[in-house]
Symmetry: C2
Subunit: 259 residues, 2 copies
């Protein structure tokens, strides 16, 4: 039987709140067995860009990662956030190593090639170096990934953190039995975004199709759930979406995703 | 017999010059066997500090690392420089991983406790995690260290890159036969700083004492050479100081340090 492995993705809402982050990292440290953390960016990159006078570039309502914005993303995600998270995990006696996708060629991506929009330095994941990642986890290391990858031609690329978590979970499910946890500010997928009590506790592809059609699930939740169903179909064992307190409290409510 | 390992420290002059850096990283990739790179910071941290309106804090002519300066150092050294160096090494088919001392608890330090000067968030190295570092090198990984360490209480600390190179070389000499190379803008230790032809090709502790007394060796070169003699006395096999072209050209002139 395969060894269990927990992949956890935390978003900007935890990164931007030092008290929440400290609580989460303490909880993360208590999770037994092999584990991988993926963190998003939060607001510091935007703040830093503003403070040096950069304006985020938008095309058709989409944010474009131009060279100066990529530079800031690398500094903040791979530098400031990643290293402070690792240092705090070390203080919690979790032996973590922070990674971008360039490190160990762990996540190879390619610059997005969209027919009409030039997204700039945005990478779509091509390949996870599962063999090396498995060896690193075998050294009792908890890998901590930021949302920066590379193209193996010397170019770093900004990459969606949800996608990184999903691609890592898929790749690692070859060798581990993987549970993927998406932690965000809500208790789960809600039928009514205003009502924290409207958590859908179980969702499968049939119910997902129905709720999308009814408009109960919409906007940012759609790519998140598409990622989830994609991961499950490619071998990930279990997926949970909810507030990070679900990691600690056995009786917490969250959304469990099934095929 | 122990396996050979090459530790190379590069300074700001290479980091600040993209053409030199690209050449150096290509040369580094061609070095056979186990190798470790340590990089300094260059001018980008100062530039970034200026562009967000921070003034470097000085006390008695010494630069103090206050909290905002540490934050910038982490972003630039562990983020921007380290990840771009790693991505360029990957493009050269060298499987590198970038590290701060917090990653893998590889370099534990303590906040400098000086009787009269508060240096701020500056760390003096206490311990290298040789066992883990050896395992990582055993995975055919080239570790790339920036000059950031941690205290294992969650605090990142700014640390001198020459010292990091020296402490890594000393620790690794327990298990490898280590050559330590300090690359900088000169061809070696000069008796006349204006004359590139005045390279001292061999220096031992006796000659060092004499040249210090005569004033031929002074200022920044003294802590560098003190580091070297300390490293040799603690097990490092061989030390070279010179321009990075010494790594490639067998007939290049450099300074060789002996006890």
């Amino acid at each position: 039987m395969k060894q269990q492995l927990t992949v956890i993705k935390i978003g900007g809402n935890i990164i931007d709140n030092p008290t929440e982050l400290t609580q989460f990292l303490s909880d993360f440290s208590k999770i037994e067995g092999a584990k991988v953390l993926v963190h998003g960016g939060g607001k510091s990159a935007t703040k830093m860009a503003q403070s040096i006078g950069l304006t985020p570039k938008m095309v058709d309502g989409r944010r474009i990662t131009d060279a100066p914005m990529l530079d800031i993303a690398v500094m903040i995600y791979a530098g400031q956030i990643n290293k402070n998270v690792v240092a705090e995990l070390q203080a919690n006696n979790t032996n973590a190593i922070g990674f971008s996708g360039a490190d160990g060629n762990l996540i190879l991506s390619e610059k997005r090639n969209h027919p009409t929009i030039d997204y700039g330095f945005v990478g779509d994941v091509k390949k996870v170096n599962t063999a090396l990642l498995q060896k690193i986890i075998g050294l009792e290391i908890a890998p901590v990934f930021c949302a920066i990858t590379h193209d193996k031609n010397g170019q770093l690329l900004n990459t969606n953190a949800d996608t990184i978590a999903s691609e890592l979970a898929i790749a690692l499910s070859e060798v581990f039995e993987v549970t993927l946890n998406y932690c965000f500010e809500k208790a789960g997928v809600l039928t009514d975004v205003e009502d924290e009590n409207s958590v859908i506790q179980q969702i499968n592809s049939e119910l997902y199709a129905k709720l999308k059609e009814e408009g109960a699930i919409h906007s940012g939740m759609i790519p998140k759930l598409d990622n989830c169903f994609n991961s499950l179909s490619k071998g990930v064992q279990k997926i949970k979406i909810g507030h990070h307190k679900m990691l600690k409290n056995a009786d917490a409510i969250y959304t469990s995703i099934q095929l």
